[in-house]
Amino acid sequence: MEIKNRIYENTLYVILCGELDEHSAYQTRINLDEIFTKPNFNQVIIDLSELDFMDSTGVGVLVGRYKKLKDKNIPVFICNPSLHAERIFKMTGLYDLMPKIS
């Protein structure tokens, strides 16, 4: 799992590249939390267009990050999920926490 990120006009864009499963979850958590310590952003957009695979472990990772950012009043949004990621997000109610944007 590689994570690209950049801040543009107070929005932190995070692009998850590769496979998000139980094996990659641990390092993904650490890397995302590290990125979230950057200054100068007030919302986060997680782009899944380069995510090749995700199972329900991914939801655990995302909800964990949502909780940490919520403590700092920073909203999180999801964009470009695959059809399968979308089905998992809908059945877990993830979009109630981090809405999908286009």
Binding site: D21, E22, H23, F53, D55, S56, V63, H84, I88, T92
Partner: protein, 149 residues
Amino acid sequence: MKMINEMEITFKAISINESFSRSCIAAFCVQANPSLDEITDIKTAVSEAVTNAVVHAYPLGDGFITIKVKLYSNGVVIDVCDNGVGIEDFNKAREPFYTTKPNEERSGMGFTVMESFMDSITLHKNGKNGLIVRMEKLFKIEDQSAVGL
């Protein structure tokens, strides 16, 4: 329905094998010509079952996971087997959001995802303690002209 092929693999119950095993099973199923969508369904469901075995089956140390696949011309039956601690209450384990490890950021949605992506999920005891997760999926025939219908 006619069985066209059969396979079995056994590997250590460690997380790096989650990716190996789901890719391996998905690749094996390709010969029955499922759609790309169905391949991803299988990949995701296998990943959930293998992850469950890696995370929960062997708290005391190393164990192995065996996956047995029966491939038919129009579907597949996949058994994900372990010899671990087993599940006390099958019904409880299948409830959405149920997890025995709430402090580890786990979604508790593994079985729900398997049920959603496959046609049937059943749980069986494997010998004394272990668990078999049996998943079945029928493939839809997408291009009916290809089979002369």
